[in-house]
């Protein structure tokens, strides 16, 4: 199943949105989805399986619970594919400003609101899209 097919289902997109805020157990995901879409527990479980099988999520067992978390790789692939179209809306000169704004916004989210020296640092490599 191709990455875009996985994202084609609204329930799976919603699950990923939920997981974007941190690990959730299968049951917690099911509760929300069940409430929002009115589908059964097995249905949700099957969606989780698709996400797992296609690398969009990873699972960790904790007792009888299964904790799901987002796995970025396939999303990054989709993002890279979109890259070739970005010039259609990130036009010419103001691209820099837009990119800077986005960079700032995202560091704010990732680092937390405290502008002090970060507690942990990551070497990190240059990533090209």
């Amino acid at each position: 199943m191709h990455a875009f097919d996985v994202l084609g289902d609204p329930v799976r997109r919603r699950i990923l949105e939920l997981l974007a805020d941190g690990e959730l157990s299968s049951g917690e995901v099911t509760a929300v989805i069940r409430d929002e879409y009115g589908i059964s527990q097995p249905a949700v479980s099957q969606h989780l399986r698709v996400l797992r099988d296609n690398g969009f999520a990873r699972v960790r067992a904790e007792g009888t619970r299964r904790l799901y978390a987002v796995e970025a790789a396939p999303l990054r692939e989709v993002d890279m594919w979109l890259g070739r179209f970005r010039r259609f809306w990130e036009q010419r000169l103001d691209a820099l400003a837009t990119e800077l704004a986005r960079g700032r916004r995202e560091r704010r989210i990732a680092d937390g609101p405290v502008p002090g020296p970060g507690p942990e640092e990551d070497p990190g490599h240059e990533e090209n899209r």
Copy 2:
């Protein structure tokens, strides 16, 4: 049909890739797709229709030919949805460098010294159903 469903089909993705390099007639698109996927002209025409109907492409009649071109809006929406996951791979401190690099690269491509008005910022959309 949701944007992600439209992109779920490999033929449609390929068509968009072709159109990314500029306008193409239905016939030109069909020739390539037919060669690469071995499907019929009506099949390609139907895919073009889906792209049209969902705002991924616009058409212009020139005599008997239909010239298709990419329409960015839905792709941008998809890109924005992905935005919430970008922090998973554009990590912390080097995010700025990465963004700058991308901005530079894209200005090199798109270039043209046109100082525009400010860019639109932060959609804040919400998705459901």
